[in-house]
Amino acid sequence: MDTIVLIKQVPDTESAIEVDAQAARIVEDNLNWVLNPYDEIAVEEALRIKESLGGTVTLLCAGPKRSQDALRSGLAMGADQAILITDPDLDGCDTRGLAQVLAACIKTLEYGLILCGQRAVDDDLQLTGASVAHELDIPYISDVTHQEIEDQTLRCRQSTDRAHMKIKSPLPALIAVQRGLNEPRYISLPGMMKAKKKPIDTKTLSDLGLEPSALPQPNIRIESLKVPSSKRAGEMIPGESPEEQAANLATRLREMDLL
């Protein structure tokens, strides 16, 4: 079964984020960019589907040109091909606009299942998957920690803080994958060499027959941006024995209203 994986390139979670307060943006100059860790899980799952059911894995990203490095990572993991939609007019889009762009491209492709990460570790809006499914008018299942496909039927486990739900859906569908679904493979060096020969198809909005002015204007605007204050220093819990330490810890947690 052919799958499509939606990809976003995000700042490496280990890089220190600086904020340009005036522009209400992060400073991008010295950042390392990586494939969004949740999208890695999505790519891994798509590869496993391909390994068991056959088909191809296509990566799709709408973003700046640098995003092709994230696509290369996905290709090096084993995806077959990639599409990068890049256009100066994407800059003005919010998630709704982006979803229309992605959907316009997806409509030109064959697919049985679309996968995306539950969240992108940069803005963490958790909207893209649902918005794209809405545009395509297909079922959407979030927080997926297990999936199985049999006879054109998708069975998923949705895991949130409060519940595990078993969900059944026809295909095609879109799933947003959550941590716990799988452990993504390492990119092997031979995989990296193979990825060099795989195609990344670059498209503009007009290639997709889209008129920038027809895309929805953003409803919201980021007015300011601030890095939360760094973690406070830890606290040592005193006690001579493990029992005493445990008792002191429980007392302290109660004092903090955490127990």
Partner: protein, 382 residues
């Protein structure tokens, strides 16, 4: 001048770093403590392609440039010297001579398994009485019909006596050259050959989870087809192998320095004395500044040597400089890093203690620091 790494080299750094952090770091201290070589970990390193990086795809390699290989060794060494030793020796000393000097059937027979990380290979040069002075080798090979009979012994041979060892390349004396100096020839010896014994060496101070062996040859008979290259090629093969090997030892110094420096920087920002992080004391901050500077110098020198090699330009002098500088820079960095950790730096719970021990080999293996200075001084015409 262009200091930019390729996208591919950046990806290698990122992926190998991720692998080292997740797979090696959690095991490194315990393997060191138990003085245990891990075949599982070695195979995992093979799965992501860390063996045969510079070997052509025809023999199962990754066909990457030399700098890519060096970056991979650097990233492993940033986390653990022993695993980096397995990779560096596995590639430069094990795979390298077979790939560069082996004939087609030798390459087809051994390289695919070695490049997949399913087996390891040793390179036996050093002898109990011949270290820096390789000319003092006493291990001999004498022709007998179509066979050669090897007698002698080797010491300190990496990757040569573990469950994954598929063979060793051994340098022997096969006569004398017209100049009167000994003639050297290398032979391939497989582990189960009668008369051959490989014994793991223990009680090491450093590289404790890398496999080190003593090799004994008692009338070991190998067929003529086991000769590597031509009779008399051994000396030249050794020099070429060591030039490349020095770059990988340099990478271990560079990566180890980077790892120890990062540990010290983190610790200095967290450890408080006199009501402030110790990184605020100039005496500590300046130590870290010196580390950062020397690591930068080490990286530039080593990468330049790799660049020369990639360009097929002479690189022997720069390889010696890179090996020497990176090793000694790591020596200074680990010394400061332990100092910054205070008493904790002397305890095994802190990785920096292992970095401190592992560094010392780099001043000695693949040509001591003195020998590197000798090589450099000859290159500059002394």
């Amino acid at each position: 001048m262009d200091f930019e790494l390729s996208k591919e080299q950046e990806m290698i750094r990122r992926e190998v770093r991720k692998f080292a952090k997740k797979e090696i770091q959690p095991l490194a201290a315990a393997l060191d403590e138990k003085e245990e070589f891990s075949p599982e970990l070695t195979k995992k390193m093979g799965e992501i392609g860390l063996f045969g990086m510079f070997v052509s795809e025809m023999y199962g390699g990754q066909a990457m440039d030399y700098l890519s290989y060096i970056i991979a060794v650097e990233e492993i060494a940033r986390v653990d010297g022993s695993q980096a030793a397995t990779i560096a020796a596995g590639n430069s000393l094990g795979i390298g001579p077979l790939y560069y000097f082996g004939n087609e059937s030798q390459k087809k027979k051994y390289l695919p398994k070695l490049c997949a990380g399913e087996g390891l290979w040793g390179f036996g040069l050093t002898e109990p009485t011949a270290g820096s002075d390789a000319g003092g080798s006493k291990t001999t090979a004498v022709q007998d019909g179509d066979d050669w009979v090897i007698n002698g012994s080797k010491i300190f041979i990496t990757n040569a006596a573990c469950s994954m060892t598929l063979g060793v390349t051994v340098q022997t004396v096969t006569g004398s050259r017209p100049s009167g100096k000994p003639e050297y020839t290398c032979f391939i010896v497989e582990p189960d050959t009668p008369g051959f014994k490989a014994v793991p060496m223990h009680k090491k101070m450093m590289w404790r989870s890398s496999n080190t062996a003593e090799l004994y040859f008692d009338k070991v008979r190998v067929p003529g087809e086991n000769m590597l290259g031509q009779k008399g090629d051994g000396f030249h093969q050794m020099l070429k192998t060591l030039d490349g090997g020095r770059l990988s030892i340099g990478a271990m110094g560079l990566g180890g320095a980077q790892g120890a420096y990062e540990l010290a920087l983190k610790y200095a920002k967290e450890r408080r004395q006199f009501d402030q992080p110790i990184s605020k004391f100039q005496a500590v901050a300046f130590k870290l500044a010196d580390c950062a500077m020397e690591i930068e110098c080490a990286r530039n020198l080593l990468y330049k040597a790799c660049w020369l090699r990639n360009q097929n330009k002479p690189f022997a002098k720069e390889a010696a400089m890179g090996k020497l500088y990176c090793s000694e820079a790591m020596g200074r960095v680990v010394d400061r890093a332990v100092q910054i950790h205070g008493g904790y730096g002397l305890m095994k719970e802190y990785d920096v203690e292992r970095f401190y021990r592992d560094q010392k080999l780099l001043d000695i293996g693949e040509g001591t620091s003195e020998i590197q200075r000798l090589v450099i001084s000859r290159h500059i015409g002394c």
